[in-house]
Homo-oligomer: 161 residues x 2
Amino acid sequence: MSKKLLCELVLKSWDSTVKRTNKLFNELSDEEIKKEVAPNKNRAIYLLGHLVAVNDMMLPLLDLGEPQFPKLTEIYLKNADDPTNDEFTVKELREYWSISNTTLSDALTKLTEDQWLEKHTKISDEDFAVEPHRNKLNILMSRTNHLSYHLGQLILIDKKE
Amino acid sequence: MSKKLLCELVLKSWDSTVKRTNKLFNELSDEEIKKEVAPNKNRAIYLLGHLVAVNDMMLPLLDLGEPQFPKLTEIYLKNADDPTNDEFTVKELREYWSISNTTLSDALTKLTEDQWLEKHTKISDEDFAVEPHRNKLNILMSRTNHLSYHLGQLILIDKKE
């Protein structure tokens, strides 16, 4: 019972952070999403693409399937924000974000407690035997923190009344 | 075994976020800590006081003791940042932050797995019977997200070379 409860806690925490981030993106206009969160820092459009790409890479990492948007990796994971290279529009990225959250949410709710405690795909059996905390649940917890970190930045963008 | 492991995951996640925040505060000079994280947003000195106050309130919430710095509540929890009212110096707040982390860390490591699953002090027995996820571990997870949220903001302050 308590193992199930603990897994649910982590899932709830992820879900509520996604919900808050989603609400914020919905409140920002396309123009506002093109603004920097602070002078000379990442633009929200970059963070939007970055968060989709990070979501997307959780699929293979948690052994839940193939990434849906590998085309985002180069721009939003491997490189810093480059305002001269907006290959994807805000509209496209909003759509990817929505699809990515639905896919991920469906997949995450299917994992059983025992599966949450399994190793993720980027660690070897040998290492996992020594470091059993490097499991799938830990990935979700760490991604929730990562999302909160960027949510704290996105909230700094001034919205029009 | 797995219950213990899951509690350890949450503690590890808290510890590593505190460590990252601590490192960042140590890298910022007193002058830099007086800067805003973005134009017209909270100054880092306010966030430092806020994080000490939030840490401090975890003690009674987790039934681990009395707050050590109740004098911070009014300025850093109940009110917004007010640059005209710096009652505490950066030096003092740095010291409180350090003391607060030591106290909290000592107290947290003493909780057993079963204690982590107990209700926190702000929920009634009746409500907890219906919502068993509102336990102490959930508080720590939510405070870790809160810390990550503000860490994402603090990192925006430009440091001198």
